[in-house]
Subunit: 155 residues, 2 copies
């Protein structure tokens, strides 16, 4: 269970542009900054422009800027509009599902609830909340985010 590189790079473009307000950025600047492939980024930028998150201009002084304030860019919306695979299990898609117990199975309902909770957290944040500012403290360490595993229930 992971987000695609496509979504990851889309978020990086938004973060870069949000951190450089008022400056027109080029694809080369962003690929250099993150050390990522230009080919991947061209598609990502095209899609972000089509979705209305950024404005691109061609020409010698061309480049891209955010199309709106970072406070207006909701992270749940970005992920839901860009991530191509949000069907956690085969049974999420009635058209392609082959599992014969899908109509009665309660597993799907549990995973829908989990996905809703996941998106609910993202929905609480905008691009403005995650921008890296110069006076930013280092991000919390991984140990603060360890998810406890209950190997077996005790009830």
């Amino acid at each position: 269970m992971h987000l695609t590189r496509y979504t990851d790079y889309s978020l990086r473009v938004l973060i870069y542009l949000g951190a450089h307000p008022g400056k027109r950025a080029t694809i080369s600047q962003i690929t250099d900054h993150f050390g990522i492939s230009r080919n991947h980024l061209v598609k990502v930028v095209h899609n972000l422009a089509q979705l209305g998150y950024i404005i691109t201009t061609r020409g010698k002084s061309g480049g891209m800027v955010l199309a709106m304030e970072p406070e207006k860019i909701n992270l749940s919306a970005v992920v839901q509009r860009i991530e191509p695979h949000l069907d956690l299990l085969e049974c999420f898609d009635n058209q392609s599902n082959t599992c014969p117990i899908a109509m009665q199975c309660k597993l799907k309902g549990v995973f829908f609830q989990a996905k809703r909770s996941f998106m609910g957290v993202l929905n609480n944040y905008t691009l403005a909340d995650i921008l890296v500012s110069e006076d930013t403290q280092p991000a919390p360490s991984l140990s603060e985010h360890i998810i406890p595993i209950t190997l077996h229930s005790n009830n």
Copy 2:
């Protein structure tokens, strides 16, 4: 963002065994029931046995049964122990991460929080909660689970 077929099939095996208590099931019975590949299921069953969720016996009257009561099998634990990719973004893995802003970026913290929330929902359920019984009502329809999309924040 989706779970692997491996995890999907692991859950199906557990659901099948939980729905047939006291009966020794064969791989053929489960592949026939779900219409899935035997090759895939052999690996899935071997792993479930190694993790202690099922007991397999060889021979003419061999097969598999759950190693514990369905109430003892927590869904969050199953997913965390079986799903091979729980790193939502490249920066989740310090060893393989290449993103240069990972140490300062706040995105990781938001996604950790979302993942924790996702697993928190699964942690509320055991295999017993999702078993299909004969008097089961059809599962809730998809429309009850639609996640509202906030295209742009209004604040």
